[in-house]
C-alpha cells in the first residue's frame, strides 16, 4: 500500500492504495464517485474522462499514485449546487444523451474542448475533437449540437474556470 493525496472536486483527499489502483477505480470504489464510468480496456471510449489539473484525461489510464498533489474534477464536481454547468445544461436541452453512460465523459471532454478551442466551435472541429469519446446511442448528432451550444453558453460564465478545476 502507498499513500496518495489529491484534491477531488475541491475536497482534499488522502488515502492508502495498492499501487495497481487506477484513478478511475480510486474514484469509483474508494471515493464512491460513480459518475465516472468504464467502457473499455484500451483507453479509447472516453467514458472515464475527468479533468486532472484542468486537462481532460482518461482516468482508466492513470494510476491513482500518479495523481499525487493533483487537482481532479469529476462530473460530480461540475454543478454549482442546484445550478448546472452550462455544458450539462446544454446536453439536456439538446438531447445530447440517451442511456447516459458515456455522458459524464462526453461532458468532461466537451469542457476540455472549449478550454482549448474557444467558444465558437464548428461542427467539423467538434467531431474531430471527439475522437476519444465513443457513444453508441446518439449517433453524435445531438452531442455535437450540445457541445456547440454549451461552448457558447460557457462564454462569460463567472467562476466557471474554478468550478471546472
Amino acid at each position: 500500500m502507498a499513500s496518495v493525496s489529491m484534491t477531488i472536486n475541491g475536497k482534499a483527499v488522502r488515502a492508502n492504495v495498492e499501487p495497481r489502483t487506477l484513478l478511475v477505480e480510486f474514484l469509483r470504489e474508494h471515493q464512491r464517485l460513480t459518475g465516472t464510468h468504464v467502457g473499455c480496456d484500451t483507453s479509447q471510449c472516453g467514458a472515464c474522462t475527468i479533468h486532472m489539473d484542468g486537462k481532460g484525461v482518461k482516468s482508466c489510464t492513470v494510476l491513482a499514485l500518479q495523481c499525487e498533489g493533483a487537482q481532479i474534477t469529476t462530473i460530480e464536481g461540475l454543478a454549482n449546487g442546484e445550478e448546472l454547468h452550462p455544458m450539462q445544461a446544454a446536453f439536456r436541452e439538446n438531447h445530447g444523451l440517451q442511456c447516459g453512460y458515456c455522458t459524464p465523459g462526453m461532458i468532461m471532454a466537451a469542457i476540455d474542448i472549449v478550454k482549448r478551442k474557444g467558444h465558437d466551435l464548428d461542427e467539423h472541429v467538434i467531431r474531430e475533437e471527439l475522437e476519444g469519446n465513443i457513444c453508441r446511442c446518439t449517433g453524435y448528432h445531438n452531442i455535437v449540437k450540445s457541445i456547440a451550444a454549451g461552448a457558447k453558453a460557457m462564454r462569460g460564465h463567472a467562476g466557471l474556470q474554478q468550478a471546472a478545476e
Binding site: A2, E18, P19, R20, L22, D41, T42, S43, Q44, G46, T49, M52, K55, G56, V57, K58, C60, T61, V62, L63, L65, Q66, E68, A109, D112, I113, R116, E129, E131, G132, N133
Partner: protein
C-alpha cells in the same frame, strides 16, 4: 493488473538507481501504452518508476538551430507549441494526429519513441527529420535508434532525456488511420533539408518504421509528387493483418507519400 511496486523518481539519476534495484522494473512516462498492456495482464513489471515528477524532463525550446523537446513533453504540448509551429510546423501537426485529445494530454514523446510501436507516429517523424535521441548516457541518431518491432537501441538503465530536431526546409506528415485503433495504418513523414530527402513510413512495414529509399531517390531528382508516379512500394515488406493486406498497404504508402510531398510543397 498484476501487483507491482511504485517508485516516484525525482531525478533521472534516481530513476536509474530505482531501475537497478528492480530487475523487471519499467519506466512509467505517460503510461498510455504501458498501463493498458498491464491491465490486460500482458506485462508484469515488478516495479514502475514514474518520471512524472521530474520537472526538467518536460519542455520545448529552440536552441540555436535545434528544436529540443524534453522526453516527458506531452503530445498536446508539442501540438500546441508556438515554438514547434515556428520551427517545424509539420511536427506540431503530426503530434496533433496522435491518439485523441485526452491521450495527447498524457502521452509523451519519450514514451512513444522508447516503445517504438510499429504503428506509432513519432518514429516516422524522428527518422524523417533525422532527430537525435539524447539519453542519460549518449546521443543516438534516429537512424540507429529504431530496431524493428518494439525494439530500440536503448540499453538497460538508459532513459531518454530529450529529442533534438533540425528543422527541414520542407516537411509534411500524412496519416491514413486504422479505423478502429486510430493508429497509423500507413503514415508517411517526408522531409527535405537541402539535398537530403527522407521518406519515413510507419504503420505499414512488417519490421516497423522504415525509410523508403526508392522514393527518396526519385524525389532527389525533383521534389515533386509527379516524381513518384508509377513507383510502388514493396508489398513483401508490408505488414498483413485484418485491417489491410500487404498490397493495399504498399499502395497506400505510395499514395500517402505523394500526398505528403504535395503538402510539403503547399499544394
Amino acid at each position: 493488473m498484476y501487483a507491482f511496486e511504485y517508485v516516484r523518481a525525482n531525478s533521472v539519476r534516481g530513476a536509474v538507481s530505482a531501475l537497478a534495484k528492480h530487475e523487471d522494473g519499467k519506466i512509467l512516462a505517460g503510461g498510455h501504452t504501458l498501463l493498458p498492456t498491464m491491465k490486460q495482464r500482458l506485462a508484469s513489471p515488478s516495479a514502475l518508476v514514474d518520471l512524472g515528477a521530474i520537472k526538467d524532463l518536460a519542455g520545448i525550446e529552440q536552441r540555436g538551430r535545434s528544436l529540443i523537446i524534453g522526453a516527458m513533453t506531452t503530445h498536446a504540448a508539442v501540438a500546441a507549441s508556438d515554438v514547434v509551429k515556428a520551427s517545424i510546423p509539420s511536427l506540431a501537426e503530426m503530434a496533433h494526429m496522435i491518439g485523441d485529445p485526452a491521450v495527447r494530454n498524457r502521452g509523451t514523446i519519450g514514451g512513444s519513441i522508447a516503445n517504438n510501436d510499429p504503428a506509432a507516429d513519432y518514429p516516422a517523424a524522428c527518422l524523417a527529420l533525422n532527430a537525435t535521441i539524447v539519453t542519460n548516457q549518449r546521443k543516438i541518431p534516429a537512424s540507429d535508434f529504431f530496431k524493428g518491432l518494439y525494439e530500440t537501441a536503448l540499453e538497460p538503465g538508459e532513459i531518454i532525456v530529450r529529442v533534438a530536431f533540425k528543422p527541414p526546409s520542407r516537411a509534411a506528415y500524412m496519416k491514413f488511420r486504422n479505423p478502429a485503433s486510430r493508429f497509423a495504418l500507413v503514415g508517411v513523414f517526408v522531409a527535405k533539408k537541402g539535398s537530403d530527402i527522407r521518406v519515413a513510413v510507419t504503420g505499414a512495414g512488417n519490421q516497423g518504421v522504415f525509410r523508403w529509399r526508392a522514393a527518396e531517390e526519385a524525389l532527389a531528382k525533383r521534389f515533386n509528387p509527379k516524381s513518384l508516379d508509377g513507383l510502388k512500394a514493396d508489398a513483401g515488406m508490408m505488414n498483413a493483418d485484418i485491417h489491410a493486406s500487404p498490397d493495399y498497404r504498399a499502395h497506400l504508402v505510395a499514395v500517402m507519400t505523394q500526398r505528403a510531398v504535395a503538402k510539403a510543397l503547399g499544394k
